[in-house]
């Protein structure tokens, strides 16, 4: 019944109004924005009858649209950044965003690490920068309503070009700290030139108590023989509805590792759309999600193997406490020319709370006959035997549980190469467990 035209919800009407009033002031090509919005508007907010949003019904979840955030004042920016704690132990090039706006003053453009070029997106859009041609690399993403909304409303962001081996990680620090609820739309484009290597860290924080609605997109165009480490953390506020997309287009003989660690937001949905266009590329996409209360956390993933001999590994671990709901939807696509593909996708969930729920949908779509693809999904409680074993050795129950959960999540985190980033993530797991009552 997907083709039934439904009446516009108040949120959809509000979005249309917001777009109408914002489109003249937003930077860049008005036409491509209008096109994206029209595409979005055709179908409206996705609901449970739209297969990709079956478990995260945005029509029901997005009742009201918060006003899009304006440029923060210097004071607001200062306060916001002072309150931001994510990855504070990691030495990195700081690229902060406050309320969806790039904080220009925080970056010393004359002393960027060697191999890094950085262009504020607002200016790039206004000038019609040549790199803009790289936006929207993956078909799966451009058909996606969340991505379309971002394209329609993107107000700011940065474009980064990486050439050579860059030691210093780049840290995109997103902070939403407006007193009342705001919506943001940021876009980051990263072009990694052939033979380069670098580490990208993303952190997403927002203040508690306000229904913030961030929608951010990171697009990466990754060249041949590159090595990219990507570490992302969602530590959004307790009432935030966070939508995010990572769109990857990867060349040959590349190594790309990504992890997303989620503890925050009332509702979050992180989408990864990756296409492997070159041979012998190795992709890893991991997730570690911790949910409690009535949180809802969705990890959605589509990996398309578009070339020979590529390997992909997806490991998603979800711990669901109280009455929270976890979602994993993954899909590996292997067209008939992508022979010798080796793809493995695993989603494991631990339900700690009696009323916790988990929805798993690991899909395979395979057209090539000489490939190895596997998927697995498990869902259950902590192993009673293991608990007993630990308790028999004198550990109190809670400690034993924590130890097992740490080990469970650790599997997804352990590959992170940057030691301080890994420590920060392990610390996040520890403090989440400590806060359990």
């Amino acid at each position: 019944m997907a083709d039934v035209t439904l009446m516009k919800t108040p949120a959809e009407t509000a979005l249309a109004q917001a777009f109408e009033s914002a489109k003249t002031t937003l930077p860049g090509n008005a036409e491509s924005r209008a096109q994206a919005f029209e595409q979005f508007n055709l179908r409206g907010l996705p609901h449970r009858r739209v297969e990709e949003f079956k478990y995260t019904d945005l029509r029901a979840l997005l009742r009201e649209i918060a006003p899009f955030a304006g440029v923060p004042t210097a004071d607001e920016t200062k306060v916001a950044l002072q309150g931001s704690k994510a990855f504070s132990n990691v030495a990195a090039l700081q690229v902060p965003f406050v309320n969806g706006h790039f904080v220009r003053e925080a970056v010393d453009f004359h002393n960027l690490p060697e191999g890094i070029e950085l262009v504020p997106l607002r200016e790039a859009l206004a000038d019609g920068h040549e790199w803009l041609a790289h936006l929207s690399p993956v078909p799966w993403a451009s058909d996606n309503p969340v991505y379309q909304l971002n394209t329609s409303f993107m107000a700011d962001g940065v474009m980064i070009r990486v050439a050579g081996s860059v030691e210093t990680p780049v840290h995109l620090r997103f902070v939403t700290a407006a007193a009342s609820a705001v919506a943001t739309a940021t876009r980051v484009l990263v072009v990694v030139e052939e033979g380069s290597s670098f580490t990208l860290i993303e952190s997403h924080e927002s203040t508690d108590g306000a229904n913030h609605q961030p929608n951010d997109v990171v697009e990466m165009l990754v060249g041949d023989r590159t090595n990219v480490q990507h570490v992302r953390q969602n530590a959004e506020g307790d009432r935030t509805l966070a939508l995010s997309t990572l769109a990857l287009k990867i060349g040959s003989e590349a190594v790309f590792n990504s992890i997303n660690v989620v503890t925050g937001a009332a509702t979050s949905r992180h989408q990864v759309y990756a296409i492997l266009n070159g041979e012998n590329t190795n992709l890893r996409v991991n997730g570690a999600t911790m949910l409690k209360g009535t949180q809802h956390g969705d990890s959605t993933l589509v990996v398309e193997h578009n070339a020979l001999h590529c390997e992909s590994r997806e490991l998603f671990k979800t711990v669901v406490d109280d009455e929270a709901t976890g979602v994993f939807q993954g899909k590996i696509i292997v067209p008939h020319h992508a022979q010798k593909t080796d793809g493995r996708m695993m989603s494991a969930a631990l339900l700690l709370g009696e009323n916790a729920a988990m929805n798993n949908k690991p899909e395979l779509e395979i057209f090539a006959d000489d490939v190895q693809c596997a998927h697995g999904a498990t869902c259950g409680q902590l192993d009673e035997d293991l608990l007993f074993y630990l308790m028999a050795r004198g550990l109190p129950k809670k400690e034993a549980e924590s130890l097992l959960v740490q080990a469970f999540l650790g599997e997804a985190i352990e590959f992170v190469e940057n030691e301080s980033a890994r420590e920060a993530l392990v610390g996040t797991v520890e403090s989440w467990l400590k806060a359990r009552t």
Binding site: M1, A2, E51, H336, H337, Q339, A349, L351, L352, G353, E354, N355, A356, A357, M358, N359, N360, K361, P362, E363, L364, E365, I366, F367, A368, D369, D370, V371, Q372, C373, A374, H375, G376, A377, T378, C379, G380, Q381
Partner: protein, 490 residues
């Protein structure tokens, strides 16, 4: 790993152009007027001499159906079906309700002979062990032409007869259970079936009775431009056991024919139903012309405590298969099982799987599915395992493997795993490597390679179920079972 040669040969031997059952029988038929209308439904109901409530039931379904839309979510594509270009009722003109086998049109008897379906009780008895006897209900287009061993079964208290007869003879039983598992409004094809179903089998096994023989129904589509809409209802009362088998074939034709069946199983306390299918409808030719559209709703309700329902299917036929034999595990400690082998060739499209819905406490389910795609076919496994809030201690194990032969075909897996109960333990696996490590170790310790050990273990228990398939098409099924697991892609 690519498929091994042996597998390729075996799959080739059942390729679409090797279809053995494509002959046609010349029988004069009586048909309802072409198309679907209230009048046609009244016609069917009158031919079956149905009580008024049944007619009303059908008409209500028809009204509902008119408001429904054909589902589009399955991974299959076909030209729009003109539901008014189908004959909904076709029965042999000569004596449509034969009282004994002697009254059945000899042409029809010849057909079943050719298909290898034993309709004469004495023939079956001759030289065969009594345990392997099978009672057959033979459905030819829209009517049941013969049902064997009826009397003997009756002595054991088992009711086994065409559903049209059951509606007349056991109206209370039928009325109590019909539509209680697959409601009239369930889905487009089930609603259509409710309006126009013509025949099928009815089985009732009374409390504590172990059905003395295998029951089976053999469906044959023969007439041109017809659709077959059979309805099967099986009730296993407390503590009873029944094993039921169905087979199906159709002639080779360039047109597509629709088969929209509904099967309902009800298992009460401590009862067990085994339902096996060898689906071998005409798959169309190599270019995708013709073939049966097999749009079937099959569902079992483990209504009682400790009840068990097992679905086993070997799917080789049909141009399009859209079929999800499911179990509603309502009773505490009930168990649902689904074993499937789906082989697609030529231009076939298969979208099949199962649903295991855990409602009761300590319910368990197991899904084993093997999809093999060759030629230009598409083979999709689509399955749901869900645990509701009260399904404490629910357990599921799913294993679905697929194998591709050639790079023109596709194999897809779309599993949904939904748990709303923390104590439910669900495992979904798409590789064969994780079968009980103990068993693997044991086999390997005795010198078997990992591959051999895996094959032995998986084939071991699937074989167990499939070996119970009767008649000559069991041979076909056996062939499929021996297909090597080598080259499995998950």
């Amino acid at each position: 790993m690519p498929a091994v040669q042996e597998t390729i040969d075996q799959v080739r031997s059942i390729d679409v152009d090797q279809y053995k059952y494509g002959f046609e029988t010349e029988v004069e038929m009586e048909k309802a007027p072409k198309g679907l209308s209230e009048d046609v439904i009244r016609f069917i109901s009158a031919r079956k001499a149905e009580p008024e409530w049944m007619l009303q039931w059908r008409l209500d379904a028809y009204k509902r159906w008119l408001t429904m839309k054909e589902p589009t979510w399955a991974r299959v594509s076909y030209d729009k079906i003109d539901y008014n270009d189908i004959y909904y009722y076709a029965a042999p003109k000569k004596n449509p309700a034969p009282k004994s086998l002697d009254e059945v049109d000899p042409e029809i008897l010849k057909t079943y002979e050719k298909l290898g379906i034993p309709l004469r009780e004495q023939e079956i008895l001759a030289g065969v062990e009594p345990q392997s006897r099978v009672a057959v209900d033979a459905v030819f287009d829209s009517v049941s032409v013969a049902t064997t061993f009826k009397e003997e079964l009756k002595k054991a208290g088992v009711i086994f007869m065409p559903i049209s007869e059951a509606i007349r003879e056991y109206p209370d039983l039928v009325r109590q259970y019909l539509g209680s598992v697959v409601p009239v409004t369930d889905n487009f094809f089930a609603t259509l079936n409710s309006a126009v179903f013509t025949d099928g089998s009815f089985v009732y096994v009374p409390p504590g009775v172990r059905c003395p023989m295998e029951l089976s129904t053999y469906f044959r589509i023969n007439e041109k431009n017809t659709g077959q809409f059979e309805r099967t209802l099986i009730i296993a009362d407390k503590g009873s056991y029944v094993s039921y088998l169905e087979g199906c074939t159709a002639p080779k034709r360039d047109e597509n024919q629709l088969h929209a069946a509904v099967v309902e199983l009800i298992a009460l306390d401590d009862a067990e139903i085994k339902y096996s299918t060898v689906q071998n409808w005409y798959p169309g030719d190599a270019e995708g012309r013709g073939g049966i559209y097999n749009f079937v709703t099959k569902r079992g309700d483990c209504r009682g405590r400790n009840s068990v329902i097992t679905w086993t299917q070997v799917e080789t036929g049909s141009a399009i298969t859209w079929k999800y034999p499911s179990c509603i595990l309502r009773g505490d400690n009930s168990r649902g099982e689904f074993y499937s082998i789906a082989v697609s060739n030529g231009m076939q499209q298969v979208d099949s799987g199962t649903k295991m819905i855990h409602l009761g406490k300590n319910t368990t389910s197991r899904i084993i599915s093997k999809g093999i795609a060759a030629g230009k076919s598409d083979n999709t496994y689509r399955g749901l395992v869900s645990a509701h809030r009260k399904a404490t201690g629910a357990r599921n194990f799913t294993n679905c493997d697929s194998l591709l032969i050639g790079n023109q075909c596709g194999a897809h897996t779309v599993p949904y795993i939904e748990s709303k109960n923390a104590s439910a333990v669900f495992e979904h696996e798409a590789t064969t490597s994780k079968i009980s490590e103990d068993q693997m170790f044991y086999c390997q310790q005795r010198g078997l390679s990992e591959e051999e050990a895996t094959a032995l273990i998986v084939n071991g228990f699937v074989k167990d179920v499939l070996q119970q398939l009767p008649m000559e098409f069991a041979v076909e099924a056996q062939k499929l079972i021996s297909i090597s697991l080598e080259g499995s892609v998950g």
